[in-house]
Amino acid sequence: MLIELTAVNKYYQNGENRFQVLQDINLKIAAGEFLTIMGPSGAGKTSLINLIGFIDRSYLGSYKFNGQSYQTASDSALAHIRNQSVGFVFQNFKLIGNNTILENVELPLLYGGMTKKKARPIVERALERVGLPNSSQKIPNELSGGQQQRVAIARALVHQPKFIIADEPTGALDSKTSSEIMQIFKELNQTEQTTIVLVTHDPQVSQYGERLIKLLDGAIIADEEVKHHALL
């Protein structure tokens, strides 16, 4: 099993109050799955995927990635596993504003120890892959929101991670652009069997995945297969 969470609980300490953000989460994700997580704002979706993406390790319970726990790993070890295994796509793109597209997309490769020279052709291919050829020298501000999210997806897949985490990737996009972006994710999952964990609160967006988890107040209230509707 690629990802296996067993009895995971997480609390935030707000002054004297202890706030439980995840409640007894049991979740298995196999390689090649396209999982969508839905839930209202504040349900704990982001908290959950940060935990899965090795950004956060202050939780109770067990999280095993390929059978191994990283809860007590050092900061460097965690950075390394993030670099090797995870691709991140964020709601607000999170591109470095005054860096070129090339400089943004090459980051996972450079932090993996590659030279800029070697990284460049790989970056160009990734940009082609998301439908943005010949844009490596532009800066993010010259691109539309949809294009910026494509750049972010290119950055998430450029180093061929074990899985991609997308936190509301269409949250800042109109519905037409949203479906274009979702098409890219779907294609990625179908043609390359890339594991995708995608967070959304848009029911339409959830239709692209194969499996849907519903989260409410930090607890999984539903885990079901997606019934594909006619709109796809």
Partner: protein, 404 residues
């Protein structure tokens, strides 16, 4: 990430913020430029001093001690006796001691002969004079007791008094004083006398005792000189001080006058003192300037870290370790100050060249690798020292807080 890639990232982020980077560099530029300028001028100066004081024939360093009698002193007495010379010779650092006079031993004067003035060469001697054809020579006693006597040459004797023997015991006016002619030597217009050449004296028309001449020409007779040849490695100022101390304590004329050192490099010495004061001053100013510049760098780095929190979060999410982030910001601040240092070095060189082109500067500025290394080292150190805290702050940022 590879070091080279982290460095190029740092470099690009400096270039992307040109105006702020240049403003931050300004303090470093000024500080380094002033240090480089003063070092170049200081080096040029010490080269010049070394060259000018080692310029004597033997290639050795010579210094001088001057004795000047005070007004009440009996000026006919010798400035240094044999015991003085022996004492001085024993001072450490001295290779050779030579006694000489500060003023020239020869002079050209206009002598009234009949109705006209005739230019004659006059020689002041403290030794015996050359052989004479009539009368007697001058002796060291003439000089020692101050006899107002003269030896003139035959042709001058002839034009003044018609003949060598006629001239004897007549007077010859020199510097408004009448000297008794006690001897007549062979005419000097004829070829140079062999024995004169051996003595190292050039034949003169008139020879008179030196001390008598000095008595009339100088109220405050400028005393005799001791020329000290120094041993290798001996420092002129130290040796001079020792010699003066010895003479002040035991010199034969210590109660009649004053001993002073007349270091040929004395002019250089006072200049050197002024220069070293200026050097300390500028170094202090540069030090303060560099410190303030360092704080400016630190301030800018903190601002930069705060502004680029998202960037830090993104990099961390993409696999940057804390170490990578720390190094990136540290290299950024060091690169900034090294740039500043190099610009400052260039500016300092230009400034030093401009200063040594001024007409009042007697020497050229000199540029050493040491000054370059210092500029480079100091600017790097400022960047690293003042960059550490902001870089650590950047590395310690909580990823979860940034990514939220």
């Amino acid at each position: 990430m590879r070091f080279s890639e982290i460095w190029s990232t740092a470099l690009r982020s400096i270039l992307k913020n040109k105006r702020r980077s240049i403003l931050t560099m300004l303090g470093i530029i000024i500080g380094i430029a002033s240090v480089v300028t003063i070092l170049a001028i200081g080096d040029g100066f010490s080269n010049w001093v070394t060259k000018s004081i080692t310029n004597n024939k033997a290639g050795k360093v010579e210094t001088q001690i001057v004795y000047s009698p005070n007004e009440t002193a009996n000026s006919s007495a010798d400035s240094y006796n044999d015991r003085d010379l022996m004492l001085v010779r024993q001072v450490t650092g001295i290779a050779k001691v030579r006694q000489t006079s500060e003023d020239s031993d020869y002079n050209q004067i206009a002598l009234p002969v009949k109705t006209k003035n005739k230019n004659v060469l006059i020689h002041y001697t403290s030794h015996a004079s050359s052989p004479v054809i009539a009368g007697r020579r001058l002796t060291t006693t003439d000089n020692a007791i101050g006899n107002q006597v003269a030896v003139i040459d035959a042709s001058l004797a002839k034009s003044l008094y018609g003949g060598a023997t006629n001239a004897l015991h007549h007077g010859v006016p020199i510097d408004n004083q009448l000297y008794e002619i006690v001897g007549v030597r062979s005419a000097v217009s004829s070829s140079v006398n062999f024995s004169d050449a051996v003595n190292g004296t050039v034949p003169a028309n008139i020879t008179i005792p030196k001390k008598v001449h000095q008595k009339f020409t100088q109220n405050t007779a400028s005393g005799d000189l001791l020329v000290l040849s120094l041993r290798k490695g001996a420092k002129a100022s130290t040796v001079n001080r020792r010699v003066i101390n010895v003479l002040k304590a035991q010199g034969s004329m210590r109660n009649q006058g004053e001993y002073q050192s007349a270091d040929p490099a004395a002019e250089a010495d006072t200049f050197g003192k002024i220069l070293s004061v200026i050097t300390y001053f500028i170094t202090a100013v540069a030090g303060i300037s560099l410190f303030i510049a360092g704080i400016g760098v630190m301030n800018m780095m903190y601002i930069s870290v705060a502004e680029r929190t998202t960037e830090i979060g993104i990099r961390r999410a993409m696999g940057a370790r804390q170490h990578d982030i720390r190094l990136q910001f540290l290299l950024e601040s060091a690169t900034l100050t090294i740039f500043g240092g190099l610009i400052g070095y260039g500016l300092g060189v230009l400034l030093a060249v401009a200063i040594s082109a001024l007409p009042m500067m007697p020497f050229q500025a000199s540029f050493s690798f040491g000054a370059f290394a210092l500029a480079f080292g100091v600017s790097t150190a400022v960047g690293l020292i003042f960059g550490v805290m902001p870089a650590n702050a950047a590395a310690r940022k909580d990823l979860i807080e940034i990514i939220r």
